[in-house]
């Protein structure tokens, strides 16, 4: 049995003058939700289309469990994907939309009814999909992705257009799918959507991977080991902490920022020396901050591009 992985190596693709993918490489492993994050235009959707064999890359490879997507006999039983929730024939009912898809994989009506239930579409299945809200379409897209009980799931911006209730549902659903041993790749341009869902993050910009890391590691790296200290005795505090190997900078009136020493150690040191302080706190970066920090370059680059475009 091949592993349920997505393996992308050195993808390059150009759309006219725009380099959409510039050596995109990453690996998605089973058993966890992997967030695929980057600003609009970073190459997330293009990467997914290349993985699905819809777009051809000029260089590089994209493998599902070690095989090219095109070589899969019943691809939907290996990889479930949701690229565009609006990709529907509006006058076809949701059930019939799933039915033709099921038949293309040799699956029957029973499986269609099962995924309708899983996606919570029982009430809407007999209605024309053209009348669905975007949130409903996302659910229908999820149902379609689940049809073949694939071990790999790839969803492009599945939170788009969902109401808060739907977002909560989607998060829990994605986590449970991953817990069953599936590899789940979910793209988003908003880190907040994936907070608490994605255990692993692939952050992309300008067609490349900027960071490929677990979520806790990303947070730690962004936070650093900075500690904020509020004290009236800035001079003596600075002396004590510098003596102990810390690096101290002023952070305004009666406030210091310390690195190289953790908060517990600082408390012990200052208390031992009788230096007064009123507040001490380890600085915690949010995922959003970490993400913005990492993708600033990519966004600036795009802005500069746009400005240059405008001058022409």
């Amino acid at each position: 049995m091949s592993e349920a992985t997505i393996e992308v190596t050195g993808l390059r693709k150009r759309f006219g003058p725009v380099l959409a993918l510039d050596g995109m490489s990453f690996m998605v492993t089973p058993g966890q939700v992997t967030g695929f994050i980057g600003p609009n235009g970073a190459g997330k959707s293009t990467t997914m289309r290349v993985i699905l064999g819809l777009d051809a890359a000029e260089a590089g490879s994209a493998l599902i469990g070690g095989r090219r997507y095109q070589s899969l006999r019943h691809p939907l039983t290996e990889v479930g994907s949701l690229l565009d929730a609006a990709a529907l024939q509006p006058s076809r009912t949701a059930r019939n939309h799933l039915l033709w898809l099921a038949r293309s994989q040799g699956l029957g009506r029973r499986r269609v009814d099962e995924v309708i239930g899983q996606a919570g579409l029982e009430q809407a299945a007999g209605r024309k999909a053209g009348g669905f809200s975007l949130g409903m379409r996302q659910r229908l897209g999820i149902a379609a992705a689940l049809l073949g009980e694939p071990r790999v799931l790839m969803l492009d911006e599945p939170f788009n257009g969902m109401d808060p209730e739907g977002i909560v549902w989607m998060r829990g659903f994605l986590r449970s799918l991953a817990a069953q041993g599936r590899a789940v790749l979910v793209s988003s341009h908003l880190m907040s959507e994936l907070q608490g869902t994605a255990e692993h993050l692939i952050i992309v910009g300008r067609g490349q991977v900027i960071a490929d890391t677990s979520t806790p590691a990303l947070l730690a790296a962004a936070s650093g080991d900075r500690v904020s200290l509020r004290t009236t005795a800035t001079a003596s505090a600075t002396a004590v902490l510098t003596e102990a190997g810390g690096s101290v900078t002023s952070a305004g009136l009666a406030a210091l920022s310390v690195t190289g020493l953790d908060a517990e150690k600082i408390v012990t040191l200052l208390s031992g020396q009788g230096v007064p302080f009123s507040e001490i706190s380890a600085h915690r970066a949010s995922l959003e901050e970490a993400y913005l920090e990492l993708t600033r370059d990519a966004v600036e680059y795009r802005a500069a591009d746009a400005a240059e475009e405008a001058r022409r």
């Binding site: 819809l54 095109q70 019943h74 039915l99 038949r103």
Partner: protein, 515 residues
């Protein structure tokens, strides 16, 4: 690896050898689950039948549906020739019986238009003839001089062999001879009665022992005079006439002693007849001996193709559905889901083509069968006659109309895949297939119409043609009379050629382009 959670094979999932069947099933489901498309397909046969029922053309003074029935019989059907085909067989015949092998030889000294105001038409004919009987539609062979096409041997209505180009005149008379041996007739001609040239030989199957041999003259009406005849307002003297003079007449072979007798075969005409003065016999006649050609000089008569005029509307309906079946997927981005489910894009296209082709064929077949049945009944009840055609031809017309719809729809799928845009593809499909046909049917005449129906996919409408064109009959060989410049299968092959090229391009592009 949590292999225990996700199973490798699932019940109810067939294995991949019949993957194409699954693809067909998926595409069929797509087509059948969009109401507008189903309506379009179902509409197609109703359009064919509906147009057939709108055909209220009448003939010879007749009943209108719902109106008071009249006693008029409508137009009489033309006689049938030895092959069962409709024929024209009316001429003035000066004859004697011939009871075995023998020959007839004459010297023809003139061919003129006779006393009437009409000139000599190119296919006015006079000469000698051996015929099974004087009943119209009998087997025959004839040697003749024509108004504009020289000496010819013609037989059994459709046979036509050209002889010397020079005709007959008092200054240079033309000798003609027919020799019978069993049921084989040989035609020969000579300029001087000494050196003879054989023009042709034919076998008239089932020729009785005693045949009629003699001289004839006939002249087809111009379209103007024939139209007047048809409308029942024929004016005397307007009929085309041919008058021919013969001398050195000799009939050799077993025969009872007797004189030349005159017969107006296929109906009398006031100006027709013969005169015998000394050794010279002058014969004047009108009519034609040859295949019956509807549309020739306004000859009435319908073909089964004329009950299928609605096919062009059905074709538009089918082609629009077929185009949308492809382009709507591009418009919505649905094609990505289709290709994600079935990465072999060539097979996806093949499945669409098979589904669309089969569905439109069945719709077209159902429409054509019903339209022909009801259309023929309606035409007959309005006093028209339907020209006989072989069972095979009738089958070809009905099945061919269905195939026309199917192949045109396949072309529409291919063009939809190439162009990806609904409006553009629908426009191209309709313009390519139906516009040339409709133009040829209505506005265009002659060369332009012919070339459109040779070069464009509309050539395939020739599949509905049952009446062949004959060079020896002057007629308005137009689409509205049921004639096409190409033979039925040749015309159909033009459409198939376009479709094959479009499909090849579609497969090439669909594999090459990003979805």
């Amino acid at each position: 690896m949590s292999a225990h959670v996700i199973t490798e094979s699932r019940p109810g999932q067939r294995n991949g050898r019949d993957g194409f069947r699954q693809l067909l099933s998926a595409e069929w489901t797509k087509l059948a689950t969009v109401r507008g498309w189903v309506i379009g397909i179902v509409l197609a046969p109703f359009l064919i039948v509906g147009i057939a029922l709108l055909n209220h053309s009448t003939c010879g003074g007749i009943t209108t549906p719902g109106g008071p029935a009249t006693t008029a019989a409508g137009c009489p059907a033309p006689p049938s020739g030895p092959g069962g085909e409709a024929v024209s067989d009316s001429f003035y015949f000066v004859r004697q019986p011939l009871g075995g092998d023998g020959s007839i030889t004459v010297r023809m000294t003139s061919l003129t238009a006779g006393p009437g105001p009409a000139g000599l038409s190119p296919w006015s004919k006079a000469g000698i003839i051996i015929t099974a009987s004087t009943r119209p539609g009998s087997a025959y062979a004839a040697m003749m001089v024509t108004g504009g096409h020289g000496v010819r041997m013609q037989y059994d209505y459709t046979g036509d062999i050209a002889g010397p180009a020079r005709g007959a005149s008092p200054a240079s008379p033309r000798w003609l001879r027919l020799t019978r041996s069993g049921d084989t007739i040989t035609g020969a001609t000579s300029a001087d009665g000494v050196r003879w040239t054989t023009v042709g030989t034919t076998r008239l199957a089932g020729l009785p022992a005693t045949v009629q041999a003699g001289m004839f003259a006939t002249a087809p009406a111009s379209s103007q005079t024939r139209a007047q005849t048809v409308s029942g307002a024929s004016s005397a003297g307007a009929a085309a006439l041919a008058a021919a003079s013969f001398d050195h007449v000799s009939l050799a072979g077993p025969r009872p002693a007797g004189a030349w007798a005159g017969d107006a075969v296929g109906g009398a005409s006031p100006d027709a007849g013969f005169r015998q003065a000394g050794g010279t016999i002058t014969v004047t006649g009108t009519g034609d001996i040859g295949p019956y050609v509807p549309g020739a000089s306004g000859s009435p008569g319908s073909t089964i193709g004329s009950t299928l005029l609605g096919a062009v509307l059905a074709l538009i309906a089918a082609a629009v559905v077929a185009t949308m079946f492809m382009t709507s997927e591009y418009r919505r981005g649905l094609i990505r889901l289709t290709f994600a489910a079935s990465p072999d894009r060539g097979r996806v296209l093949a499945a669409k083509v098979v589904v669309v082709g089969a569905v439109t064929f069945i719709a077209g077949l159902a429409g054509a069968i019903v339209a022909v049945q009801l259309g023929e009944r309606l035409l007959r009840s309005n006093g028209n006659f339907i020209l006989p055609a072989s069972t095979l031809s009738n089958l070809r017309v009905v099945a061919g109309t269905a195939a026309l719809l199917a192949v045109a729809s396949v072309l529409a799928v291919a063009l939809g895949s190439i162009l990806r845009r609904s409006a553009g593809a629908v426009t191209v499909v309709v313009a390519l297939i139906t516009l040339p046909y409709l133009l040829a049917l209505t506005a265009l005449r002659g060369g332009a119409a012919d070339w459109l129906l040779r070069l464009t996919p509309a050539a395939a409408f020739a599949i509905q043609q049952t009446t062949p064109q004959y060079p020896q009959v002057s007629a308005a060989y137009t689409v509205s009379n049921g004639y096409f410049p190409l033979a039925p299968w040749a015309g159909f092959a033009v459409l198939c050629g376009y479709t094959a090229v479009a499909l090849a391009l579609a497969v090439f592009l669909i594999r090459r382009r990003d979805a």
